[in-house]
Structure formats: C-alpha cells, structure tokens
C-alpha cells in the first residue's frame, strides 16, 4: 500500500515499467520465464479465425497461454484482440453471426468440440469486462450468485469474505455488504467483478480492458491485484495501454490490423513473446513501430 502511495505521489509523470521495481523483481524471480518447456500450457490456439457473417475479424491466430502467467494481448483498435479473448470462454457463441474456425485447446481438450458445453467452459474460464458490470443486487449477492448457480454447498459467508479479501476489497465494503453493488465507485465495482469471478474458483481469468473505464489510481490497484492473483490463476488481459502490458504481463501478443480494398479490417497476430523481449527487442519492425508510438 505504501508503494502505491509513493508511486502516485510522483505526480502526472506517466508510469512506465521502471516505476515499479517490484514488478521487475517479480519477473527476475521467475526462472521459468526463459524456459518455455517448464511451463504448463493452459490454452493453446492454432489457426484461429473468426468471422462475423461474411466479414473476417481475425485471421489465423496461433499462440499458447501458460499456467499462472499474465498474458497481455495488445494492438490498435479493431485488431481483434477482444474477439480472440472472447473465443476462450465461448462468449462469441452469444453473437449469432459469429463463426469460429481453427483449434482452441484447453488442457488438451478442443473447446469447440461437439460435446463441450459452453456453460461448463465458462465455469472454468472466468471473465472480467471492460465496463464494470455489477449485478443490481447487494455486494454480498453479487459474489454469492456465481457459487449459488454452480451449486456451492459450503459456508457462503466465508466464501464471500475470502473472495472480497483476495480482490482487495474486503476492508472497504465489509460494513456495507447489504448495499447495492452499483453504489460503490467504478474502481471498487471492477474489483467486485473480479471478486465475483474468483468466487467460482476458475482456472483462467480473462480480462477485457479491465481498466479502460477507471482512473489511474484505481487502475494501479487492479494491476497490483492481478500480480497477486497470478499466483493462483492464469490471466489473459486485453489492454490498450502498452505501459500496463509492460508493467503486469509475462508475455505479450501484439496484434495488428490489415485493411482490404473494401475497407474491412482483419486482425492478425504479428508477434508473441516474453513481454521483456516485445518491449526491448521485438523481432518485427511492425511491433517496434507500435510500441515506440510510430503508429496505432
């Protein structure tokens, strides 16, 4: 908490990776981060293409998400990074015109296999959305909803407290658990949504630009939380904010967008590597141009 206040007190200076010694230390402590073989793959993607009707949104994406790491998907608007993210928990199923082709394997099982129930997928792969979307219920019921529909039989009070504590929200809301989840600040709402996702004990947490609607202080708290959560969860985050990717992620996938003659925009994966390499020594000039601010 003290680190947080000192970092904020540096004023309007934009945050960069070097402002956060602890995050660099964290990475240095990860001996496996240079050795892909030792990490377990949670989600592996091959030749993934997504179409909306006749329009191809994402073309031929291939990458692997590793256990207990934070993987960031970055790139300019319209490059399909959110679309790719929403394939991982089959949220694209809710869009009638969306067609997914290629292979997404979750612990070796084809997520789009005939017998796979999207509801079961979502119970294991949780999601936090761009705009905080607490349910119009009490803070307590926001957390309890997921476990209840999944048939949780244990002590609900304990689970609610535990989830709120892990989302670093307990101290702020412990006296108003009966109040509406919509009556707290935007940053608190987003942490409530994270607590809600944790409460069902997922394996993977997907975050779709979780900080884009938040102010810098709330953003920083969410980032701290993500670093804490990755001890137990594999996290995939879509972000517009390159510094954020640099600060929190272990690996970064850079997406770009091709515009064809008719103005349709199709996203593709340009480069996927360790975050340090993407931001210090990218192998593609396109990546370098983007991270140095020359386009996008």
């Amino acid at each position: 908490m003290n680190d947080l206040t000192t970092t904020q007190s540096t004023g309007s200076r934009p945050l960069s990776a070097t402002d956060r010694p602890e995050s660099r230390k964290f990475r240095a402590e990860m001996p496996t981060s240079t050795n892909d073989e030792a990490l377990e793959t949670v989600i592996s993607v091959r030749d993934l293409s997504v179409r909306y009707g006749s329009f191809k949104a994402v073309d031929e994406v291939g990458l692997s998400i590793y256990q207990k790491q934070i993987t960031a998907l970055i790139g300019p608007s319209g490059c399909g990074k959110s679309t790719v993210l929403r394939c991982f928990n089959r949220m694209n199923d809710l869009i009638p015109s969306a067609r997914v082709s290629g292979h997404i394997e979750y612990h070796g099982v084809d997520l789009y296999g005939d017998e796979v129930d999207p509801v079961e997928v979502r119970r294991r792969i949780g999601m936090v959305f761009q705009k905080p979307n607490p349910f119009p219920k009490s803070i307590y019921d926001n957390i309890a909803f997921g476990p209840t529909v999944l048939g949780y039989k244990g002590n609900m009070d304990e689970l609610v407290e535990e989830s709120l504590r892990r989302a670093a929200l307990w101290e702020e809301v412990k006296d108003k658990l009966d109040e509406s989840g919509m009556a707290i600040s935007g940053g608190q709402q987003q942490r409530l949504c994270i607590a809600r996702a944790i409460a069902t004990s997922p394996d993977v947490i997907l975050m779709d630009e979780p900080c884009s609607a938040l102010d810098p202080i709330a953003t920083l708290r969410i980032e701290e939380l993500m670093l804490e959560l990755k001890k137990d969860y594999s996290i995939v985050i879509v972000t517009h904010n390159m510094q954020q990717a640099a600060r929190v992620s272990d690996r970064t996938a850079f997406f770009s967008v091709d515009v064809n003659d008719t103005g349709q925009r199709t996203g593709r994966l340009v480069e996927y590597d360790l975050t340090d390499r993407i931001f210090t020594a990218p192998s593609e000039t396109e990546t370098e141009d983007y991270i140095t601010g020359r386009f996008g």
Binding site: M91, F129, G146
Partner: protein, 312 residues
C-alpha cells in the same frame, strides 16, 4: 508584487470591452423568441388543464350527486330494485374481485412468459416470430367489444362452453389485456443492460438461470407497472363483459364456475339505466367506488415502481 500600471490599465480596458461585447451577445435574444416561448408554455398548460378539468368535473359531479350515499352499506349491501335507498354493490364488488383475480392469475404467467420468449429466445429474423410480434401489437389496438364477441363464441359457447360464468369473464378480459402486458414486459426486459446477462453467463450460469435470477428481477418494476395498469384497465371494462354474461342482476354472492355474476361497471350501467332518481344517485356513488379502486391500483403501481426502481 510589482505591477506596471500602464499594462494593468490596458488590460482593464480590454477586459471591459470584452465584457460589454459578451453582455450584448448574451442579451441578444429577440422578442419573437420570447413570445414563441410564452405561447408554447401556454399551449402546454392548456393541454394539462383540459385533461384535469375533465377529471375534476367528473369527480365533483359524482360527489355532488352520490356523495351522500357513501356509507359502508354501499359496499356491503346486495343490490335491490325495491329498496333503492338500501341497495348496495356487494355482489358486483365480489364479482369484480373474482373476475380480476382470474385475470391476474392468467396474465402474469402468460404475459411474462410470452415476453421472455420473444426477447430472449425468439430469433427475430425468422418470419413467424416477426408475425407474432406484429400480431401482438395489432391486438393491443383491437376494440374490447371484439374480444367480447370472441369470448361469447369460443369461451361461453363453442369449444370451451363455460357458460355465463365469472371464469368466462376472466378469460375474456385476460385476452383483452394480454397484448398490453406482453408489450410492457418486453420493454422492461429489453431495458435491462446486456452487460448484466453477459456477466451472469460468464460466471457459468445457464441461460435459464440468467433469465430467472438476473433479468427478471431487474425487469420487475417495469413488469409490475405493466401488469397493474392492465388490471386497472380490465376493472373498468363493461362492454365485453356484457356479452359474456355479466348482465344478470344478482342478489347472491357470485362463484367462479357457476352462472350469474355482475361487476362494478356493469352494475353502474344497470342502475344508471333506471328512470328513478334514487338509482341515478346509486350509480354516481358506484362511480366514486370505481374511481377509488382505480386510484388505489395506480398508486400501488407507482409505489411498486419506486420501491424496486434501480439505476445502472
């Protein structure tokens, strides 16, 4: 702080010049604009007054005529043609309660169910779903007497053959107000942001759990308001009921499935048709009872809406 007096003076002149220009610009609203404003405000006031005067006149006349009859006996005494001074609306009130109770039991599950289907399951690109939607909107505008004919042909006689019973009145009025309930419930369901459904589904809730535990509770205020307004309309209907049996002059308490029932509006119609002065007074008192009932229902609607109102 040392200041250069010349510069300050120049600045002051510049400021006052800018101020004068701004003042002139801000005050430039023309007389024509102002007159038009006044005219429109007056027109809107007139519209409100027109509506209010009608209501106030009705209440005042009815009070002047039937106010003297407002006693508990008016509610608890059975109707009578021999002693109009002791006649009351007991059987008609009970008939109304029976008929409307049946209406509520029918329209809540049917109206909400249809709305959930149309909003959450129906693919609006399929022609039959669009046909259903179009039909519901049309049915909401069909005159109530047409439903009376339908009730007579299909419910009282025809396939159902219930006879002239309160249940037939319930069914007929339910059919009459069902389109309104469906439309209101659909609006309420549609107003629930999709982010709530997304959040619920992303937690691994099934579609049914999402509808039952997130969408319907969030849409509840709107659905309730729609139901109560529909019921308030059904209470006041006399025309379709006249066709499906509510014409009998009943002095005994009605029952749901046996012949002979009356309702408040039908009873008022009966009394007001009689030539004697006493019955006209009785009819006026009945109107006051009806007004109070509708006011009660609408207050309930407002209260429920405020109580469950949410913002997102």
């Amino acid at each position: 702080m040392a200041t250069d007096s010349r510069t300050t003076g120049g600045l002051a002149v510049a400021t006052s010049g800018a101020r004068a220009a701004t003042e002139a610009a801000l005050k430039s609203k023309s007389n024509r604009d102002r007159t038009l404003n006044t005219v429109f405000v007056a027109l809107m006031m007139f519209a409100i007054l027109f509506a209010l005067v009608g209501l106030v006149a009705l209440i005042v006349f009815m009070f002047a005529e039937g106010g003297g009859r407002l006693t508990w006996g008016l509610l608890t005494n059975p109707p009578s043609t021999i002693h109009p001074d002791q006649a009351g609306f007991r059987t008609a009130l009970l008939g109304t309660l029976y008929v409307i109770g049946g209406v509520v039991l029918l329209i809540v599950p049917l109206g909400v169910g249809a709305a959930v289907y149309l909003e959450e399951f129906a693919n609006s690109e399929r022609w039959w779903n669009r046909l259903i939607e179009l039909n519901i909107q049309n049915l909401a505008g069909v005159p109530s007497i047409v439903y009376g004919i339908l009730g007579l042909a299909f419910i009282v006689r025809g396939p159902l053959s219930l006879g002239f019973v309160a249940a037939a009145g319930s069914l007929t009025l339910a059919l009459l107000v069902l389109p309104t309930v469906i439309l209101a419930a659909r609006e309420a369901i549609r107003a629930v942001p999709s982010s709530i459904a997304d959040g619920s589904l992303a937690l691994g809730a099934t579609q049914w759990q999402t509808i039952w535990k997130q969408i319907l509770p969030a849409a509840l205020p709107g659905i309730l308001t729609g139901i109560i307004l529909a019921v308030a309309r059904a209470i006041g209907e006399a025309a379709p009921l006249l066709l499906v049996g509510a014409v009998t002059f009943v002095t005994f308490n009605p029952r749901f499935f046996s012949d002979g029932y009356s309702t408040l509006p039908v009873m008022i119609y009966q009394y007001s048709n009689r030539p004697q002065e006493e019955f006209r007074i009785l009819a006026a008192a009945g109107v006051l009872v009806m007004l109070a009932l509708v006011l009660l229902m609408n207050s309930l609607a407002v209260w429920l809406r405020d109580r469950f109102e949410r913002s997102w």
